[in-house]
Symmetry: C2
Subunit: 330 residues, 2 copies
């Protein structure tokens, strides 16, 4: 399996991207097609002692800046490393794309260069978020700021296939993110999407309040991209705030510093569980071939985990299953 | 100052409500008008050894159930303890209402029985949420599921007055909860509200991403009630999930259990800081007289804190200030 890598996406590109890719090749039985400036990347690898076995390169002179308009990936940045990666995927030069670059550009490029699964109206960006029990897939988190009820139905179908096939969750519980559990709660979007989902073959558990999300109240949470983005970013910010408070508490006195020493190992596991970057990337669900967004702040390990996710995505044939489910109006 | 108490609101009513009221009377230099079934409340107080000095009673035979339609407070529950409290406030029998009862009924009753400040289109429910640095007021969290830009402008004015007057924050920073900081981000609501707020005299810092809220990125966060409810409930759920994980970690081995003993005092402070029920209640901003919602799960201490907040609300003359600001089109 060959994973196509955008070498110039994310805060720590290209070094951590290259490192993570090398780790993935040595651990995960994949090869890579790395898009970027080959000569510079080779020089960096030599300097840092990164092995390049299993990597091919695809020359791409530009990097897509985070602050550029997303649609520029089709225009002034059509020769960027991210655009090159999507074109290579569309052309069959590899099996999946992994990028830590601009989310907006990824959504535009994924949708318009890689194209959609037949029948899917709009792809959705769909991170896997850790909860007290298990994880849940949240979709959409920003590809579609405003949504129609039918889109939420499709998000539910895609999320359920992914959680079952890739994450091994049997009969995933699907919920609509809402401000109350009753069927008449929320706006027209939630009410109408609820009707569609009650008529589906999915394991639809109704509305889910945001309070229940981090406690593991469902396996697939569907929502418009505005609300989903708020949920994702708040989850991130709360994690950061808690970690900061916890650290401050552990450093507050001689007694707590001793406690911190005793907790050293346990704290590592605790942080790993609360940190959603550990869980790999966010798939863009609905494109005709797998596209994975690694977190913008990915280090080598997080990027490697995103590559692992891309591999599972391919192996489990998620896209055919979604195509079948959508054409069958599951 | 006389605070009007709904004795039958919340999960722990009437016992914790009565206890919290008694504590407030002894500590805060207030008196209370307690709405409910006087004979039963007196019997309970006697049994539990709760002092009733400083309390008057107002007979109200019914309790407003949480699951009842909010508008029923005007109809079949017009003799409920919550309805009686609002009527007593409107009639000038006390200075503020504190209730831990149904949020929906509180919004309807507050708006239609207590009535609005002149010029205010819609009251907003506005909890004070702890952040890494300070606290922030979030409005609206559910009184208005869908909002117009002008409503967000008024929420901003009300929140800024409150944070300045009651919480002592100089020149409070006002942000619009959004999915990016750029002026063109979000839906028409955020974009248009941004234009109104840039034209205002407020200290408007633009859009604020949800990630920054728990880190203390602003003092007043304005949003529609749907999004605000999601933010509030997710904040609550993350706190619960995090506490659970922390507890599990501290109990995971002999070593961590020793650490837990060493941390005992520090953990108390940590929890208190992260727990937004400690910060008292959520004012319903925009009513002609102060109405405070205590958390539904309030114990005596939380309810007492909500009464403290009601007292400050009255003392600082927040409502006149809002009236002046709104009529001046601040």
């Amino acid at each position: 399996m060959k994973i196509i890598i955008d070498a110039y996406g994310g805060d720590n590109a290209p070094l951590e991207i290259l490192k993570g890719t090398a780790q993935a090749i040595s651990e995960l039985d994949v090869t890579a097609l790395v898009c970027g400036r080959e000569a510079k990347l080779r020089a960096l690898a030599e300097k840092e002692g990164i092995a390049l076995s299993g990597m091919d390169f695809l020359e791409a002179p530009l990097a897509m800046p985070v602050e550029a308009e997303p649609t520029e990936i089709l225009k002034s940045y059509s020769t960027s490393s991210m655009a090159a990666a999507f074109k290579a995927l569309a052309d069959g030069q590899g099996d999946a794309v992994v990028t830590a670059g601009s989310t907006g550009a990824l959504c535009v490029g994924g949708t318009l260069i890689v194209k959609r699964i037949k029948g899917i109206k709009r792809p959705a960006l769909a991170p896997i978020i850790p909860a007290a029990k298990g994880t849940y897939m949240l979709l959409d988190v920003g590809a579609n700021v405003e949504c129609r009820p039918e889109m939420l139905r499709q998000f539910a179908v895609m999320g359920a296939v992914y959680m079952e096939r890739v994450m091994g969750v049997k009969n995933p519980r699907v919920g609509i993110v809402n401000i109350g559990t009753e069927e008449n709660k929320g706006t027209a979007l939630q009410i109408e999407a609820g009707k569609l989902l009650r008529d589906s073959r999915l394991n639809f558990i109704g509305n889910i309040e945001a309070r229940e999300l981090p406690l593991g109240g469902c396996d697939v949470a569907v929502t418009d991209g505005f609300t989903g983005n708020i949920v994702l970013k708040l989850t991130e910010g709360m994690g950061k705030a808690f970690s900061g408070e916890l650290k401050a508490m552990l450093l507050s006195s001689a007694k707590t510093k001793i406690a911190a020493l005793l907790l050293k190992n346990a704290l590592g596991g605790f942080k790993a569980k609360m940190d959603y970057t550990e869980h790999g990337g966010a798939p863009l669900m609905g494109t005709a071939k797998p596209v994975i967004k690694a977190h913008g702040s990915s280090n080598a390990k997080a990027f490697k985990n995103a590559i692992r996710q891309a591999k599972l995505f391919c192996e489990q044939d998620v896209i055919s299953e979604i195509g079948a489910a959508v054409s069958g109006q599951q």
